[in-house]
Assembly symmetry: C5
Homo-oligomer: 100 residues x 5
């Protein structure tokens, strides 16, 4: 999985019927030090992530290993909201220290 930050939303009305009801988030990838990378993904979100949160994104067929997504033409999904990222004993990120 990659670490990404929720930066926006995408809305599509004329789409594959199976995608009805899917919430699509615009995610920007972060590097292993937490810096924004010039790389994004539009991913389905079933875990309730919000703007500025750090999330884990799975790509490929993994995106369909989620209840409700099994037959959707998705290649990316948010699979978790990140609480902490630790490098050995050093904390790189802690959600509870963020102020939105």
């Amino acid at each position: 999985m990659q670490i990404a930050k929720v930066i926006g939303t995408v809305v599509s009305n004329q789409k594959e019927p199976s995608l009805r009801g899917a919430k699509l988030l615009l995610l920007q990838f972060l590097d292993e030090e937490g810096r924004l990378l010039p790389k994004y993904e539009v991913a389905a979100d079933n875990v309730g992530a919000g703007i500025d949160e750090w999330v884990l994104v799975s790509r490929g067929s993994a995106a369909r290993q989620i209840v409700g997504n099994e037959t959707r033409p998705l290649d990316a999904a948010v699979v978790g909201i990140i609480d902490t990222v630790n490098f050995g004993n050093r904390s790189l990120y802690s959600k509870k220290d963020q102020s939105y």
Copy 2:
């Protein structure tokens, strides 16, 4: 999924028999700010996208999670025509503001 712009069409007559009837669009990828990237994909389109529209493209086995594509040797498909892309409260793109 990635965001891409429809820039053309590809026609192939001598092809895998299962691809008969598939509409193949040439898509150019956009970055998270809507700028054209030097990267393209030829994708099947079942949602009726037209030139200059912004679309969502799914790659990999996701392209076959679409009625009619299940057994086609496709690795990319248009899964939706984009109406809006929002960054937080800022609108990056709105289809209704475009003039074709």
Copy 3:
């Protein structure tokens, strides 16, 4: 799918038994303007493509959605010989205008 040009062939005798009889082409990728990219793929060909032709190549599990390839360890296949690539009203490539 990506657009590629057939530039050669690859022969392997000591190989996975299921690959016996597979014709393997060396393809060089083209960008969206038809320029050669420094990127290639060795792909199975069941459609009868020849040297210098432009083809569509599918990668990943799509390569096994072809009669005869279902259980072969292939991650790339030629799925069609390209007749035309059009950018809006402009023709980028037309097979019938080529002289081999």
Copy 4:
């Protein structure tokens, strides 16, 4: 598979229910000479890898070919702790020579 070094851990509480109990490691990729690359992966670990160890990471659907991961939305997993990497007769890495 790629060779990577375990550099940290990631914790997520609000996540896909099927991921409960999964141990998620932050891995940094190494090049073929053992140098750190600016590329990472968050991967599930079922083999018991620890900080600073070199591991093999599999990506894509391979990550779900592990007992317990079959239906988890994972696209990366640690599949082995590396003991030795040899280039011909030269040893590039030997776990028993490391001091943690």
Copy 5:
């Protein structure tokens, strides 16, 4: 598939149980002219490839379309030892001309 050269071996004792008995080779990728690229893969080998040989490597789920690998968490496998690579009428590589 990509063309790669066998440059070494990787040994892992503490690993996914299904990988017991798998022979893991370190492969360095070659470009379409046969030059070494700064890119490698650790791949399972069931065809008996040896150091310095040129091989075809398949990645992704293709690696499990091999007898014995079906349920192993592998994302890369050697699928053939290359005998010849030809560009049109020019020979780029011929195994029988190599001296090891």
